[in-house]
């Protein structure tokens, strides 16, 4: 650093230590709360308990952001976030050569088609609602991941671009955890409907 800021250097270091300590303290508190909730809750796989755990984990992440950035700036974290050409990030247009062969993309397409067929076949098998939803959403996420990584070329892009998409995913998960407990609550407090279902209802699951 230049001598102009030389006098401030020690002060900056002291500031950094205090700020990092406070942030780390808060992060640890929230992580402990998340873990404590997991042990107090009994059944962690309820939506309510998952919601609380994820909210605490998210808050811990927020407070961890600053110390992590500080450590990254000082090179303490192996910068997997940057491509090897970290220093040439400035002013270089992305290379025009397009990684990935036709064979690779054809294989990805084949995988996507197979997963689609599996999903459609699954729709006609009665595995119970929870398992069906889990498998369907799981397969859809895999398909989405394949499309994003290969077709949208994210696998060959700089990691920081991928990281920029993660918050959207976090928001989605939080939305799920916010609304679904209320959905179950609403279903349980609904008054009984006057019309009775006909006898020919069969094995159609009422969801």
């Amino acid at each position: 650093m230049s001598t102009r800021f030389g006098g401030l250097k020690r002060l900056t270091q002291k500031q950094d230590v205090i700020l990092n300590a406070i942030c780390l303290l808060f992060a640890v508190v929230f992580l402990v709360l998340a873990a404590a909730n997991a042990s107090w809750a009994g059944d962690i796989l309820t939506i309510d308990s998952l919601f609380v755990t994820s909210v605490f984990a998210l808050l811990a992440l927020v407070f961890l952001a600053n110390p992590l950035l500080w450590a990254y700036e000082r090179g303490y974290i192996q910068s997997f976030l940057a491509a090897e050409d970290e220093l040439t990030a400035r002013k270089d247009a992305e290379p025009v050569h397009f990684e990935g062969s036709t064979k690779l993309f054809g294989a990805v397409l084949l995988g996507l088609l197979v997963l689609t067929v599996v999903e459609v076949a699954l729709a006609y098998v009665d595995v119970g609602l929870k398992l069906m939803l889990t498998i369907l959403i799981g397969l859809s996420v895999i398909k989405a991941g394949l499309i994003m990584a290969y077709f949208m070329h994210l696998k060959f892009e700089r990691q920081s671009l991928v990281m920029a998409l993660i918050p959207a995913l976090v928001v989605c998960i939080c939305l799920l955890f916010v609304f679904f407990p209320d959905g179950f609550r609403l279903r349980n407090v609904r008054p009984e409907s006057p019309a009775t279902p006909p006898a020919a209802h069969g094995t159609q699951p009422a969801h």
Partner: protein, 227 residues
């Protein structure tokens, strides 16, 4: 890491990336703009799908009227159409990277064809539901109410809203691709890549819409459907 020695004790280096005149994500501003748009649009669709899931899970009963023919067959074909069109779009981007503008235009044409096929099949599905069954946004057809008396009337609204918004995106995508294909001589490779990103996003959304709306509402006993 060769970078570590220079980054170490030189926070100015990281700051420079964000100080302007550099490419922090190593993509140009137009591509970054498209990615940010995709993130926001993905959240819009997520909100709609979550709202639909909320309405469905909190209601006593939900109609599950999609018979194998035509609904499931058509929607599966539509899925295959979109997947194939995503592949042709990747081929178009690869051709454009090789500066082969003619081939790129042909591949984009194939992608547009897939999109138009999707739209045609989907519109047929809509007309089938609206005209043959009489499905309305907030009112179930009498035949379905006879079979599922407590079914939520929101079936139509959720179905038409979500698939309608997606169809609108497909239509816009086809028009966008058409514009790129027609002016391909003046387009850079980046422009073709960006239009590809939008098209893959449309496909991505369908990957979630298809299972949640169609596959979760499969009719196991079509013989029970009153006519």
């Amino acid at each position: 890491m060769a970078a570590t020695a220079e980054v170490h004790h030189n926070p100015q280096l990281v700051a420079d990336e964000w100080g302007g005149g550099a490419l922090p994500f190593r993509v140009g501003h137009k591509k970054l703009g498209m990615w940010l748009f995709i993130v926001s649009d993905a959240l819009t669709f997520s909100a709609m799908l979550i709202a639909y899931s909320y309405a469905r899970l909190s209601s006593e009963q939900w109609a599950t009227p999609f018979s194998f023919y035509p609904s499931i067959i058509f929607s599966t074909t539509m899925t295959l159409c979109l997947l194939a069109s995503s592949f042709t779009m990747v081929m178009a981007v690869a051709a454009s990277a090789r500066r082969d503008r003619k081939r790129a235009r042909r591949w984009i044409g194939a992608t547009m064809f897939g999109g138009l096929l999707f739209l045609g099949l989907h519109l047929y599905e809509w007309m089938h539901l609206i005209n043959d069954y009489g499905l309305k946004p907030f009112e179930l057809p009498a035949a379905w109410l006879a079979r599922w008396p407590n079914a939520s009337p929101l079936f139509g609204a959720s179905f038409f809203a979500i698939t309608g918004l997606h169809m609108f995106h497909v239509l816009t995508g086809v028009l966008y691709l058409g514009a790129v294909a027609m002016t391909i001589k003046r387009r850079t490779h980046e422009d073709v890549e960006i239009s590809g990103l939008y098209w893959h996003f449309v496909d991505l959304v369908w990957m979630f819409v298809f299972p949640l709306i169609y596959l979760m509402s499969v009719d196991f006993h079509p013989e029970q459907m009153p006519h």
